[in-house]
């Protein structure tokens, strides 16, 4: 059986475009605010949503997502809020996954976590710091709960290893466009097309590109060679920069709509 995420990539491939995937941490700017952001994503035309599990030591994240995670954590955001936000997204009919560092999964219980994703309608989990060598328990749990396991690969990942990592991926392969942490960049790394091409040699699974995408033009560029475009920090910046929640939500919806056009203009 396909997850909603897998179905989405089948659909966008048939429409000859890329999917727009938007990221928001649970509990940011508040738990209720997060639900409104999810609604704004959907209204703006986002195809799939990543719910971030805010973590105290996010080594893959730049200052923007760190700030959002800090705010969410200071309001007591934990597993309960993550699953609640996930359910909010999937209840709206949009495919959704959780992105989390490994320790919160281990603390929650590996099998229990995978099952909670499935129970809340989630399609899978992105694990940026879980290496395939440490993944045995997780691989069994995602198979049991019939959800996708999504790993992040980088430009430095060598071909032989790329094949092993993508073997563990379902739903999509998360291609980090550059060597670095999350955050907006003035241009998307020139290493990204090469990485995506290398990934495609080892797998038919969809490939989504993240790190540094923030504008319609950048989304259009990435959509030219990838199946999905992932945007996180740019949305969070809109919320951090806005004077109040209402104007932040308008800005999020507007950016989503711009990016949604971008992913349709790439080919």
């Amino acid at each position: 059986m396909s997850t909603p995420l897998e179905t989405l990539f089948t659909t966008v491939r048939s429409e000859n475009r890329a999917a727009l995937i938007a990221y928001i941490p649970a509990g940011f700017p508040t738990q209720e605010g997060c639900k409104k952001v999810i609604q704004a994503f959907v209204d703006g035309g986002v195809d799939a949503i990543e719910i971030g599990f805010p973590y105290s030591d996010p080594v893959m994240d730049g200052p923007t997502i760190q700030a959002a995670a800090d705010r969410a954590l200071s309001q007591g955001t934990g597993a309960k809020e993550v699953f609640e936000a996930l359910k909010h997204a999937t209840d709206l009919g949009v495919p959704a996954v959780v992105m989390t560092y490994w320790n919160p999964i281990e603390k929650y219980g590996v099998e229990k976590f995978a099952q909670a994703i499935s129970d809340n309608g989630g399609s899978g989990v992105i694990t940026p710091d879980l290496t395939i060598e440490e993944s045995a328990a997780w691989t069994a749990a995602v198979a049991q709960s019939e959800i996708n396991s999504i790993y992040v690969v980088a430009p430095s990942t060598k071909d032989a290893r790329l094949a092993s990592v993508t073997d563990h991926c379902s739903g999509f392969v998360y291609a980090a466009s550059l060597m670095g942490v999350t955050g907006t960049r003035t241009s998307v790394s020139s290493g990204a097309p090469d990485l995506v091409a290398r990934i495609r040699k080892s797998t038919d699974t969809a490939v989504a590109v993240g790190l540094g995408v923030s504008t319609r033009e950048q989304a259009k560029g990435v959509a030219g060679y990838a199946d999905g475009v992932i945007v996180g920090s740019a949305f969070i910046n809109k919320l951090l920069e806005s004077e109040d929640e209402a104007s932040g939500l308008i800005a999020v919806r507007e950016l989503a709509s711009q990016l949604a056009q971008g992913v349709r203009e790439g080919r």
Binding site: Y55, A79, N103, E106, D129, E133, V153, G180
Partner: protein, 402 residues
């Protein structure tokens, strides 16, 4: 050897039982594999071995001596107290053992820049020193809170030509300095070596850093045998990440009669929640790239640690210690700020040796264990660092006007 001792030395693919391993962004795997290959090659490469030995002889000041602390022993139940004087190493602590090894590896890997994290500043100073010696660029990440507690060491690093970046995220201490160093490394891994300062982090760091420090135990085992004719009853060291402790423990692991005792920082007391005693008061989890004991809450978020000692103020611990604890080969106890500062004062006044506050935790532990074991016992303590950097903190603590 019994099964316990054999198990204690078993290390499979970067794992110590269930601990260790690699939990890192895929971007770092290539660099970790390159480092692992370089350090394994170096272990049996006569040129590398000779180069490092020569540096230790002519630069570090090895072998470090053993000092018998007879007047201090009166405060430790009359047990025979032997101090392994790592404080007399160049830069004032054991940290130099590791950085010289890693700096040589950095050059072999063709990298020109090193980054390091530091808590107390000892590892930062050691890294800046090694970088100066070998002509490498050096950036040190240090929690903003720690740059205040250890301003003297910040100045030392700058004098040595390093750039010191105060880290303002999270708790602004060692754990956040490691996060920031990891972010730098993910971004600059092509040109940069992360000179991690303790036996934590992803494989191969826990094994590699231990191997550069195990000379402490190798030397002191011979020295104690020569001096006393027998093995010590207990070997003791403070444990933050645990590098000085694993360094002195490792050679003694197969000596089953020798108790290995690590002293963690209990801060205000483990029961208060304001402590850094990870094994005593934490639970298994993943932090900074390895599975180990972690101070964490119900959601797996790291809990901020507390200790008067910046170098022990860390909510994780090396995975090998986690394993030695679980199989019962080493014991871990917790020492409060108050107990550590009392031992700090006693050693200063009885032996004329001002220890680092980190090291004072081991001394406080030895005062307890000496009383438990009595006057026939021989206790070897790793005097891991000197207290010059702590003069300001100690003066404040004891009410001495500056």
């Amino acid at each position: 050897m019994t099964t316990t001792a054999e198990n204690a030395l078993a290390e499979i693919a970067g794992h110590f039982g269930p601990y260790g391993g690699r939990f890192v962004p895929e971007a770092l795997i290539g660099a970790l594999e390159e480092l692992d290959a370089a350090r394994i090659f170096a272990q049996t490469d006569p040129t590398f071995i000779a180069e490092l030995a020569e540096l230790h002889r002519t630069y570090t000041g090895r072998p470090s001596i053993i000092t018998e602390a007879k007047r201090f022993a009166e405060h430790a139940g009359g047990a025979r107290i032997l101090l392994k004087r790592e404080d007399l190493n160049h830069t004032g602590s054991h940290k130099i053992n590791n950085v010289l090894g890693q700096a040589l590896l950095t050059k072999r890997m063709g990298k020109k820049r090193i980054i390091a994290e530091t808590g107390a500043g000892q590892h930062g100073v050691a890294s800046a020193t090694a970088a100066a010696l070998m002509g490498l660029d050096c950036v040190v990440y240090m929690g903003e809170e720690d740059t205040r507690r250890q301003s003297l060491n910040v100045a030392r690093m700058k004098l040595l030509g390093a750039e010191v970046i105060p880290v303002t995220s999270g708790s602004r201490t060692l754990k956040d300095a490691i996060n920031e160093a990891m972010r730098d490394w993910v971004t600059n891994v092509e040109t940069t070596h992360y000179m991690l300062g303790t036996v934590a982090g992803p494989h191969p760091f826990p094994s590699m850093v231990r191997d550069f420090h195990k000379i402490i135990g190798e030397e002191s085992r011979e020295q104690v045998l020569a001096l006393t004719g027998r093995l010590p009853d207990a070997v003791m060291a403070c444990v933050g990440g645990g590098s000085n402790a694993i360094g002195i423990f490792h050679r003694f692991i197969s000596d089953e009669s020798v108790r290995l005792i690590g002293l963690e920082a209990a801060g205000d007391g483990v029961e208060t929640g304001r402590h850094a005693a990870t094994i005593t008061g934490g639970s298994p989890g993943v932090l900074h790239g390895n599975r180990t004991y972690v101070l964490q809450d119900a959601n797996g978020q790291t809990i901020e640690s507390h200790s008067i000692s910046a170098g022990l103020d860390y909510p994780g611990v090396g995975p090998e210690h986690a394993y030695l604890h679980d199989i019962g080969r080493a014991e871990y106890r917790a020492v409060t700020d108050t107990e550590a500062m009392e031992a700090f004062s006693i050693l200063s006044k009885t032996e004329g040796i001002i220890p680092a506050i980190e090291t004072a935790h081991a001394l406080a532990g030895a005062m307890q264990v000496g009383k438990e074991l009595g006057p026939d016992a021989i206790i070897l303590i790793n005097l891991s660092g000197r207290g010059d950097k702590d003069v300001q903190t100690a003066a404040q603590y004891f009410g001495i006007p500056l």
